[in-house]
Amino acid sequence: MKRLRFNQQEIVFAVFAVLFLAFSIFLRGFLTPENMLTLLQNVAVLGILGLAMALVVIGRGIDISLIAALAVPPGLVLQMVQNGHSLPASLLTAVLLTIAFGLVNGWLIAYAEVPSLFATLATGLLLAGLGQAALFQLDVVQWSDGMQGFERLGQGTILGIPTSIVMFAIACVVVAFLLRQTRWGAYIYAIGDNPYAARVTGIPSRPIIVLQYVVAALIGCFAGLVMAASVNSMPTRVFNSTLIYDVILVVVLGGIGLSGGRGGVLNVIIGTLLIGTMLNGMTIMDISYAGQNLVKGVVLLLAVITDSFLNPRNEETAQQGDI
């Protein structure tokens, strides 16, 4: 008898469907057009970050510093405009800072061979510390007059769809194009699948890994701009929140294996929908922030355990230092 096997994507989608159905039936006010838009709007930033994380995770890395990239360069834009610089100049500075940050990450991981987890953990702290110590005057950088018009990146609608969702959609299309249509994307899959084989094949793995982190940081910065535009300020303390765990949750739940080489944009969308539904439902049920975190954590744990039972790791091929 053929054993019934599901992959994680199908399971998560099923869970999402069940959850969505249950909420629709039992939660008053869940299945309304307004709530649906709110749900999507709330998870748009998370989704964009998820795309950045997906890019890195597919290439067998992880980027803990995404939240720093989300908070600091957009915060710098707001701060510089507040201090009287022009918006384009501020944006350019922020983008350059982001690229430099991505290059540092990439260099540490690809050339200095520091495990991505530690490299990004430390660079994230470094960038956040830099922002805190040298760039921002207050923890929340306020919107100023010079930013006039920029808030449309996160507010209002385009063709009746909230802009932040459009931004998420644009990011999805761009990342999907990068991953599926360009040679660079194919190389990322190759490196994630087997870095040694990729290098032997002649793929310039190191520059590609660097590029991967630069692009991830840029996407993170983009998410930060959308976020700042939608709330008219940049709360830089977001770095201290558990947002990065939500991002990892999106990627892992969506079915992008942490061992790399698998998954794509669709997985991010599914993961984002599930998390969005879960958070939205819990908010309607009036569960506290800590309670929501608890539920998220338990769900994530169950997902990872299920994954390990469906796709067990082999003791013989488990890599040393594979933490």
Binding site: L108, A112, E113, V114, P115, L117, F118, A119, L121, A122, T123, G124, L125, L126, A128, G129, L130, G131, Q132, A133, A134, N240, T242, Y245, I248, V252, L258, S288, Y289, A290, G291, Q292, N293, L294, K296, G297, V298, L300, L301, V304, I305, S308, P312, R313, E315, E316, A318, Q320, G321, D322, I323
Partner: protein, 705 residues
């Protein structure tokens, strides 16, 4: 003038120490310790009262608390994992202790036990998930970090007021929090006790070895039957329990449950662990490294706080240190052997005068001839690398082979061959004692004894450790040749203490006095080093006077005499120097003189290079090994010399076909038997005008009765 300066510089500057120190395992701990001293010194200069007892006691309290978590993290990292949930476990167990004490009013011992159990339980969740279910350590502990943290948040929402309202005044609880013994805080005492146990556990007990083995190679550990899953799980339990100990002291010291307790603690502890030199990915680490890392991180963060640095700067400093430490650690682990092999070779200055002439027509005792042209060949193609040859009193011929055997060729025609004894290492010099036991120097193993019936026994493989040597020189690396005195002392040479058997030519490149002569007493079984600092001591022969030995220094190109008895006991004098080649084994000749093998002839290029240590060091660093300038050992000769060091006769093979390469020779009943370490044959040369009944060991030990 320049030569004098070079010679002085290389005589007194210990170049060789750098490579030897770097190859020691403890250098990996030494670097963080030096960093700690630098940080401590810098801070004590910039902050007043930094080293005052009160300040130190305060630091010790914090160090103790973080130190416990550091020990747990070290354990988990050594086993090949990581524990990010320590900050949340810390917060939860801190809450647990205060809740039990303040709200439920439990007695202190019960609180301690329950808190430890709570920590172990929280760790056990990680342990079961990672050890038994084999989830990834990073992602799993990240999830439990969130879960434990949100549980903590939910709990303090309900109980923080009742905990804050209580002011327990229990002496034992206060002692845990703020007590000290002779000025040492209670937490530091407990830490010291646990650290000492931890050190013994990791280095001396079986479970500790299992942990290191799993971290080093999980697969090999699994295949060799170590309970991988259980051991890993227990490491996480231990990490949880150690964290709860820290939380207990913290709770007793401050008695609060603020919302941000333990937030970011995992980063601090992780930084400390990596900074201490505990390798990410497992297999390497120690309690000392963990302690040093914790101290460095704590000094830096405390110092920055005292210096009123902004929060962001503190964070950046921590992150920067973590990055640099991880980078250095990874690069060092990756390139360690390469760096050591580059700096290990440390050539020194070695000047020799121009050698005596050997060309035909120049005259002199070394004048080349073709006497060995027609040597008879024994065992051609059947024996490999007979460094030394020896004949017993029944005329049988023995020779070592590269495969670790002693071969025996039977008299009278030496056609029949058998393996006399299997040893396992390459046999070099050989000598018979009075009872016909064959003593053999085995490269890489030591001095061995083979009884006449072929039983192999170890005589000695170690000598006294010298105090000033960095390398462990108690082990015998390259025992080379030996001879036995009438009193049963065996003098044997150890060519070098810096290189292994397979690397011996590199010692010639160094030309430092790395070798020594060791004495083994067959009566007492004791071994001691008789003479040090010799340039590749090689052949050894007891002189006719019975009070001294003659020994050859291969790369010193000289023969010296060491008195081991009589009025000159302990003195060394030069018998011959500036030989045109590299002397090897020395043996008795029938006329009371000595045979000497020159394994290779000197060349002007190497003679020049020996005067240029810098050139040889650059060569060793930049050129691949097989292109280095090595001493020539392809063509040599046999010479005969007398007691005064005068060369009497020389024997060459000019065509280089039969026997150009010679490391040893033995005279026996009118023939000279020749061995060579690169040869696949043993040579036999008919001597003219010699005693046809000469048997070396009959002469030494008396006729067989």
């Amino acid at each position: 003038m320049r030569d004098t300066l070079t010679s002085l510089r290389y005589r007194y500057w210990p170049d060789h120490l750098l490579g030897e120190i770097l190859s020691k395992r403890w250098t990996e701990t030494a670097i963080p310790v030096i960093l700690l001293l630098i940080v401590g010194f810098a801070l004590s200069r910039s902050i007043d009262h930094f080293l005052s007892p009160a300040s130190l006691a305060d630091t010790a309290r914090q160090a103790g608390e973080i130190g416990f978590i550091g020990l747990g993290m070290a354990l988990v990292v050594i086993v090949g994992g990581i524990d990010l949930s320590v900050g949340s476990i810390f917060a939860l167990t801190d809450f647990c202790a205060l809740y039990l004490l303040d709200v439920l009013n439990w007695p202190v011992p019960a609180v301690v036990v329950a808190t430890l159990a709570c920590g172990a339980l929280l760790g056990a969740v990680n342990g079961v998930l990672i050890g038994y279910l084999r989830l990834r350590a990073f992602i799993t502990t990240l999830i439990t970090l969130i879960i434990y943290r949100s549980a903590f948040d939910l709990l303090i929402q309900r109980y923080s007021n009742s905990i804050a309202a209580a002011f327990p005044d229990i002496p034992s609880w206060n002692f845990i929090g703020g007590g000290d013994v002779l000025g040492i805080p209670s937490v530091a005492l407990v830490y010291i006790a646990i650290a000492i146990f931890g050190h013994i556990f990791m280095t001396r007990l079986r479970p500790g070895w299992h942990i290191t083995a799993i971290g080093g190679s999980r697969r090999s550990a699994y295949n060799s039957g170590i309970p991988v899953r259980r051991t890993i799980a227990l490491c996480y339990v231990a990490s949880g329990a150690l964290t709860s100990i820290a939380a207990l002291f913290f709770a007793a010291r401050l008695g609060t449950v603020g919302g941000d307790i333990g937030v970011g603690l995992e980063v601090i502890v992780l930084t400390a662990t990596v900074l201490g030199g505990i390798t990410l990915g497992g297999g390497k680490g120690s309690v000392a490294k963990s302690l040093v890392g914790v101290l460095i991180v704590l000094l830096i963060t405390n110092g920055l706080t005292t210096l009123n640095a902004r929060g962001g700067i503190n964070r950046m400093a921590l992150a920067g240190i973590l990055l640099i430490a991880a980078m250095v650690d990874i690069r060092w682990q990756k390139n360690r052997t390469r760096i050591i092999s580059k700096v290990y070779v440390a050539p020194t200055y070695h000047a020799l005068p121009p050698p005596p002439a050997t060309e035909i027509g120049q005259g002199g005792p070394f004048e080349q001839n073709d006497k060995l042209r027609d040597v008879e060949l024994i065992g051609l193609g059947r024996i490999e690398a007979p460094e030394d040859v020896i004949l017993d009193r029944n005329n049988n011929l023995y020779a070592g082979s590269r495969h670790g055997d002693i071969m025996r060729f039977f008299a009278p025609d030496y056609q029949r061959m058998e393996v006399f004894a299997h040893i396992g290492g390459q046999p070099l010099g050989m000598a018979f004692d009075r009872q016909d036991n064959l003593y053999v120097c085995i490269g890489g193993m030591g001095l061995y004894r083979i009884t006449p019936d072929g039983t192999v026994e170890k005589a000695t493989d170690e000598t006294n450790r010298s105090m000033h040597s960095v390398n462990d020189d108690s082990r015998l690396r390259l025992a080379d040749d030996l001879d036995i005195t009438d009193d049963g002392l065996i003098f044997f040479s150890e060519a070098t203490v810096r290189y292994e058997m397979d690397e011996w030519p590199i010692d010639g490149l160094e030309a430092r006095g790395n070798g020594r002569i060791i004495c083994y007493d067959t009566k007492t079984g004791a071994t001691h080093t008789a003479l040090r600092g010799l340039k590749f001591p090689n052949g050894i022969c007891v002189a006719s006077d019975g009070q001294s030995i003659l020994f050859a220094e291969t790369f010193g190109c000289s023969i010296k005499r060491l008195w081991f008895a009589g009025p000159k006991k302990g003195q060394v004098e030069v018998v011959m120097d500036n030989l045109p080649g590299y002397p090897d084994n020395i043996n008795l000749a029938s006329d009371g003189n000595y045979w000497l093998a020159l394994v290779g002839m000197r060349s002007p290029s190497l003679d020049l290079a020996w005067k240029m240590p810098g050139f040889r060091r650059r060569m060793a660093k930049r050129v691949p090994v097989d292109e280095w300038l090595f001493p020539n050992i392809n063509t040599g000769c046999v010479v005969k010399f007398n007691e005064q060091g005068k060369i009497l006769e020389s024997f060459w093979d000019l065509r280089g076909e039969n026997h150009p390469m010679i490391t040893s020779m033995r005279e026996h009943r009118g023939y000279l038997y020749l061995g060579g370490i690169m040869n696949n044959r043993i040579g036999r040369y008919k001597l003219d005008n010699v005693d046809p009944n000469f048997v070396q060991y009959d002469k030494r030990w008396g006729k067989l009765s």
